[in-house]
């Protein structure tokens, strides 16, 4: 019979909307408004999983996010299999497919349960003590064995097809938790006109009010007050209500991470909707109304299916209209458990006994239970339970002896632990209250805890606390606010059970259900010398499962405190860390996957290159054309052809990614003179200089071309990957060291497309396109710059070369880049030239011994190491990094210096980074290869290397340690093509 354990009426489920779902392949029915847990219970299913270590049968313990046992896998189709979801939070929808975990072959018969019978052999620290020796056995034996047995749930094995998004939000008041205290706070804050965000991890706002059957607030039933409050909040224009949204982490200065589950509860979600939305909320004021979590009782056999938290049982009965059993025992350590007894009784469940662990059971709620005819016995202890896949009986001890009571439901009411997670993440320090447990102590600026999470439990008190705090927070945020107050009736006062350690008892009494840690394990750890709770935690793994010990930490603490005979506050709480509940990787990644993982920067000419069939490489975030293979060519052949064409005719190259900085102002020359090693103050307008930039520590940071456009305006280039770094460095000096200089820096990297034309016929190629500039060698020598018109648009024309051939770099506005490129290409093509990519560029520059900062350098290379000392302006008193050049280590002999290497075997090509040794068999490197390319022009590999005292070793034989063995190489000058520069100045 379907839903045999549904109550006749009542609850917040919609009985008119039945929903079909399956659990381990078995079809069942529930109602809209159910969670998977409540629907399973309505169908009489308590056994929902196997425990992690001992594979013990486990049921549903709780009704909220603190659930340690009922972890299930939800399958929403290909790639959408999510493990380890709490059945208590999974909302039912039509067609939901759920499976139990950690069992093989079936839930009822689990082969892994053999480890339960081996439990005496698996004490705490078993792995630490057992798998010690020999070390080799780790890789081959222990680790594979442990890995197979360990792990909870199955990780998905295909890419996640769902969308996840993120957003930033701001508000005056963020209210976390929409129970009575949170709602009262939200109502006060929203009423003031403040911007309010209210979030709650549940599907419905209301918290404990959703399971409130008796109380009246302001003269109306609690449910009506809730309805009215939600209507007011929804009507408030500046208020955002986020259900199914967990505040998972508190970060600096009131930034709170929220995870909103947008579609998992829907049978057929709108495909436009993301599955989850991650909110980063910056709030002026945060109100934490996180509530409290009921503690299980620690007694032997406390983990059988059918043994549940009393508050959860009340919630299942009242909110979900479910009878979680036929015959119940309620074990009460405080008054609140009586509410479960009363609710069960009202729903027609036989309550065999309330076994009150206190010496006396007085107060309003015990009296109400007695009045209802429920047997109440005080002075009880729970001695044990029986039942294999479901609790069958409870053995209760009294001063007079023991009594075995048949029951299929045992409710545990062990008192309530305030949820300090967010408060503690915000660096609040709690204190220990002997009647409540840990409660907030130190204030956190901008953060207020209200209600049960700060130990305020009565309904009237929670409402008042919330209303007052909500109004105060709104006022601190600059709004006129006042808290309402409501008369509360029929909410009987509830004596809270103080946390206390359980008695020693025999049998396994579980503390941490998810990691299968027992009271005995904790006591063993203390006997073995562990004293700090942080150490006990790591040794026993208590509190380290995915629930982070929400139901277990306080019990564990009590046991350890008792065992070491120290007060609880001296043992201390373990650290609370985000996330409060697990957050999916998808939500953390957001849209930053695939094409949006990282920006891909392209130049104005990129589309043209792609259409030509270029191969691209990543240089920083840029895509650069690496080479342009023609039909039938591989990259090797294409690069060789491109190099040859540049040396013999003319080549066209997209250099747009070069960093460019426009340096303007009366003192621009003075500024650059101080930044670069070179003498630049005397650079004439219209001329350029190759310039090197050091860090203050003396090592090379960048190099580039400094071109002087006019007296007060320079165009400076940087390496492609260095543009931001160089600009940042220059801004630092300009703003903070030399603010008196009138100089302003502007990044113009993206303003200019740079079209490089290089080769003996370069001048001829561009001449017809350039207006009003005499391109002759005399009028426009190498290292010149002119502002002019090229192809009818404004241009900066540089006569510079990075190939050793005659070269020009035409800078035109980026939006004109493609059009100008196409016209230049037409000319180049007409002369038999070619377009070339970065690979040919590298070969050409290496043949000339030109360095690339970041390739020949690694942050520990000096300008002298590179052989570029000539660039230093000798008469300069100071420049950035100059003082460091005379530090002993930088001036010492034995530094690695840039040289060329000519390999004995001309057919061999070493790899960059290969070590260089003095003798073939040496194990100590004297240097390393920085660049190596095949070169048709030179007829062998062009190799640049940094070698100790390299310039003094010219002609010596050294060895490159190649993969196949040492290869002899002769140290040579790195400049291999046209060392006199005749071609350059041709």
């Amino acid at each position: 019979m379907s839903q045999r354990f549904r109550t006749a009426a009542g609850g917040r489920i919609d009985r008119a909307r039945p929903l079909g779902f399956s659990f381990d392949g078995r079809g069942m029915e529930g109602f809209a408004g159910d969670t998977l847990a409540s629907a399973l219970l309505a169908n009489g299913v308590h056994l929902v999983g196997r425990s992690f270590k001992y594979h013990r049968p486990r049921g549903i313990l709780a009704a909220g996010s603190e659930e340690p046992n009922a972890l299930v896998e939800i399958d929403r189709g290909a790639g959408r299999r999510t493990p380890n979801l709490r059945a208590t939070q999974v909302e039912l929808h039509d067609g939901l497919v759920a499976r139990s975990q950690n069992r093989w072959p079936s839930l009822a018969f689990d082969a892994g349960a053999v480890s339960d019978r081996l439990a005496p052999l698996l004490p705490t620290g078993f792995y630490y003590k057992t798998f010690l020796w020999p070390p080799r056995a780790w890789a081959r034996l222990y680790e594979p064995l442990i890995r197979r047995a360990a792990g909870l749930g199955r990780a998905p094995d295909t890419a996640d097809p769902d969308r996840y998004v993120q957003c930033y939000a701001h508000c005056d008041v963020l209210v976390i938790g929409a129970g009575p205290a949170g709602l009262a706070a939200a109502r006060a804050a929203a009423g003031s006109g403040a911007r309010v965000i209210v979030c709650d991890e549940g599907a419905e706002f209301g918290g404990s009010l959703l399971a409130e059957e008796r109380a009246r607030i302001g003269g109306v039933p609690a449910a009506e007050w809730l309805r009215d409050t939600l209507a007011r909040l929804e009507a408030a224009p500046e208020t955002v209500l986020l259900a199914r949204t967990t505040a998972f982490g508190y970060y600096a200065q009131n930034m709170v991470g929220l995870i909103e589950r947008v579609t998992d509860h829907l049978a057929a979600p709108d495909p436009a909707l993301p599955r989850e939305r991650l909110w980063q909320v910056r709030a002026r004021e945060v109100i934490v109304a996180a509530g409290s979590i009921e503690r299980p009782l620690v007694f032997p056999g406390n983990d059988r299916p059918g043994i549940m938290l009393a508050g959860a049982v009340q919630s299942y009965v009242v909110r979900y209209g479910v009878r979680p059993g036929r015959r119940a025992v309620v074990a009460a350590e405080g008054d609140s458990a009586y509410r479960a007894a009363l609710a069960l009784h009202a729903a027609g469940v036989e309550v065999a006994m309330v076994a009150d662990l206190r010496d006396a059971a007085e107060g309003a709620l015990p009296q109400m239970a007695r009045d209802a005819g429920i047997p109440v016995r005080s002075g009880a202890t729970i001695v044990g339970t029986a039942g294999r896949l479901r609790v069958r009986s409870v053995t209760i001890g009294f001063s007079g002896g023991r009594e075995r009571v048949a029951a299929d439901l045992l409710c545990m009411g062990g008192g309530w632990t305030p949820s300090l997670h967010l408060y503690s993440q915000a660096r609040g320090r709690p204190r220990h209250d002997p009647t409540i447990g840990f409660v907030p102590r130190t204030p956190v600026p901008g953060l207020t805890c209200v209600g049960a999470c700060r130990g305020v439990f009565g309904l009237a008190e929670m409402l008042a606390d919330g209303a007052q705090a909500g109004a105060a927070a709104a006022m601190r945020a600059g709004f006129a606010a006042s808290g309402e107050s409501w008369a509360v009736e029929d909410a009987p006062s509830c004596e809270c059970a103080p946390p206390r350690a359980p008695g020693p008892g025999s049998g396994r009494a579980f503390v941490d259900f998810q990691n299968d840690v027992t009271a005995k394990d904790l006591r063993l750890a203390t006997r073995e010398g562990f004293r700090s709770i942080e150490h006990v935690k790591r040794y026993t793994t208590t509190g380290m499962a995915t629930d982070q010990g929400k139901t277990s930490n306080v019990n564990a603490l009590g046991i350890v405190a008792q065992a070491v005979a120290a007060p609880v506050e001296a043992v201390g709480l373990t650290t609370f860390r985000p996330p409060y509940t697990p957050v999916s990787f998808g939500a953390l990644a957001g849209v930053a996957r695939g094409a949006l993982f990282d920006p891909v920067r392209t130049t104005a000419i990129h589309g043209w290159a792609a259409a030509q069939g270029a191969l691209f490489e990543d240089v920083g975030a840029w895509k650069r054309a690496r080479c342009f293979p023609r039909a039938g060519e591989d990259m090797h052949v294409a690069v060789a052809r491109e190099c040859r064409t540049v040396r013999e005719t003319v080549g066209l190259f997209d250099a747009s990614t070069l960093g460019k900085i426009e340096v303007v102002g009366r003192d621009a020359a003075v500024f650059l003179e101080r930044m670069y090693v070179n003498a630049l103050a005397n650079l004439a307008p219209g001329r350029c200089r190759y310039a090197v930039l050091l860090g203050e520590s003396g090592f090379v940071r960048d190099d580039g071309i400094v071109g002087r456009l006019s007296a007060d305006r320079f165009h400076v280039t940087t390496g492609t990957g260095n543009a931001a770094l160089v600009l940042g460095l220059m801004e630092d000096y300009s703003q903070t060291e030399w603010p008196e200089l009138q100089v302003w820096l502007t990044s113009v990297t993206e303003q200019w497309a740079v079209i490089a034309v290089q080769g003996p016929r370069a001048r001829e190629a561009i001449a017809p396109l350039v207006e009003d500039v005499d391109l002759s060698r005399q009028a426009l020598p190498h290292m010149s710059v002119r502002s002019c018109q090229v192809c009818g648009v404004a241009a900066r024309l540089f006569a510079v070369s990075f190939t050793g051939e005659i070269g020009f770099e035409i800078n035109v506005g980026a939006d004109h880049g493609l059009a100008v490129w196409e016209q230049v290409w037409e000319r180049v093509q007409g002369l038999g030239g070619a377009v070339y990519g970065t690979e040919a560029m590298h070969v050409l520059r290496a043949e000339k011994g030109y360095v690339i900062v970041g390739q020949e350098t690694d942050g520990t290379v000096t300008i002298d190491d590179l052989g570029l000392g000539w660039a230093i302006g000798r008469k300069k008193q100071d420049f950035v990094g100059k003082r460091s050049l005379s530090r002993p280590d930088l001036a010492a002999a034995g530094r690695r210096q840039l040289v060329g290497l000519a390999l004995d075997d001309a057919s061999r090509l070493p790899e960059e980074g290969m070590q260089v040794t003095a003798a073939a068999q040496d194990r100590t490197a004297i240097g390393h290869v920085t660049s190596a390319y095949g070169s048709g022009t030179v007829g062998r590999a062009v190799v640049m290397a940094l070698v100790a005292d390299g310039r003094a070793r010219m002609g010596e034989i050294v060895f490159v340690q190649m993969t196949a063995g040492a290869m002899a190489a002769r140290v040579c000058d790195p400049v291999l093509v046209d060392p006199e520069g005749a071609r350059l100045h041709g």
Partner: protein
């Protein structure tokens, strides 16, 4: 020359989603102005984050000595007299127009600033970030933002906004 001008986002169709539309603006001339406000002979807004709108464009005050001047092509040429610098950046950036009830919400998918109309009212501007791109944001009206992005980041920003415009809350 117009037929030879290629913007970074030429030819893309506007992003149209519930509550928000994103389109590429017509071309602007742009200049970065640095130095003393007095150096430029025209009144520059002197509050960081404020905008002075003019017939043919606008001047955005991005820093204590930094302005971004936007003008339709052919607008007035700025002359610098005194301690200041003007640099042409007309091709450096691409501009987007984001309009609609959810314009601010779309930007907040990647922009960490408070874009509530009371916190960032019309006439406000700033440099900030959106996703992994730097942007300049100018709120032209309650439901209209002008966004400047570096040319090579325009395609990324466009794709980022298109993706986030779906199912926007």
């Amino acid at each position: 020359m117009d037929d030879r001008v290629r913007g970074a986002l030429d030819g893309v169709a506007p992003i149209e989603a519930a509550g928000v539309t994103v389109s590429v603006t017509p071309r602007f001339d742009r200049a970065v102005l640095r130095g003393d406000a007095a150096a430029f002979g025209v009144g520059l807004p002197d509050q960081v984050g404020s905008v002075a709108e003019r017939d043919a464009g606008a001047v955005l005050c991005l820093g204590p000595d930094e302005w971004l001047a936007l003008a339709i092509p052919g607008g007035a040429v700025l002359r610098v007299a005194g301690a200041g610098a003007a640099v042409d950046v007309g091709h450096r950036q691409t501009a987007l127009d984001i309009t609609g009830r959810l314009a601010a919400a779309l930007l907040n998918a990647g922009c960490p600033l408070d874009l509530h109309v009371t916190a960032f009212p019309p006439g406000s501007c700033t440099r900030t970030v959106c996703g992994k791109a730097e942007i300049v944001l100018w709120r032209r009206a309650a439901e209209r933002f002008h966004v400047e992005v570096a040319r090579s980041y325009a395609a990324y920003l466009w794709a980022f906004l298109a993706e986030n415009a779906r199912g926007l809350r």
